[in-house]
């Protein structure tokens, strides 16, 4: 279909999401989605910024935040809040839940089938369920 460079799939992904494929967004998307384990990363804005700088991708922290939020709105990422002042962006947008290791601050996926709710209560009138977050908090032994 396309004879483009390695970025071609990402370019398409961003365009489809209504986002211009800028140098910064492409580089961040590459780090997010095409690293080893890219379909299950849990990363903070500061971590991604550091990672970019480490790869000599020049991008500001403000742009990292902007991009992460835009990717989230576009459904490419999912935001998971675990502590006040600590939120992760998750490259796995399928239906799943999380272990949170309180000691190390790490998040780990739990496949969706392993936690099932029976009888989710109905959303109150005038609202719809935007998301259901299940976080199993773990502490050391």
């Amino acid at each position: 279909m396309s004879k483009d460079r390695p970025y071609s799939a990402l370019v398409h992904r961003l365009k489809t999401a209504g986002l211009r494929p800028t140098r910064q967004r492409l580089a961040l998307a590459k780090l997010l989605f095409e690293s080893p384990g890219g379909d299950d990363r849990h990363i903070t804005a500061e971590q991604l910024h550091a990672e970019a700088l480490g790869e000599s991708v020049r991008v500001s922290l403000a742009t990292v935040y902007n991009s992460l939020h835009q990717f989230t709105e576009a459904g490419l990422l999912r935001e998971v809040v675990v502590e006040p002042g600590r939120s992760y962006f998750d490259t796995n947008v399928s239906d799943h839940h999380h272990f949170y290791f309180e000691d190390s601050g790490e998040l780990q996926d739990i496949p969706g089938e392993h936690v099932q709710m029976e009888s989710l209560p109905a959303a109150p009138a005038g609202t719809r369920v935007a998301r259901v977050d299940v976080i199993i908090r773990l502490s050391g032994d």
Copy 2:
């Protein structure tokens, strides 16, 4: 049993928790646990501080934070994080989950029986489950 003033039950509650019943802790505990609906309040530190000042209880914000954390450690409160930079303290420490109204920022209890997990995955070796948080995020219509 006791012929003490209205604070007597609270004094006992704090002492049992290993906390000295100081003027500030008593006043905050009274606001938290003896308001109408005191077994189901979801309040932030700043809200509680404002409430205290409104009742002419002189207490610093630092003490409000200290007390909320101490109460939480003692099992009198439970902390619920809903957004980066927004955490609530919940006077309902029984097993239950929450609706979060994204528009208004309010939290509402869902009785424990109304959400049941089947087959919670086992905690990874070397860890124990400290808590399971279920937050159903609602957005307007």
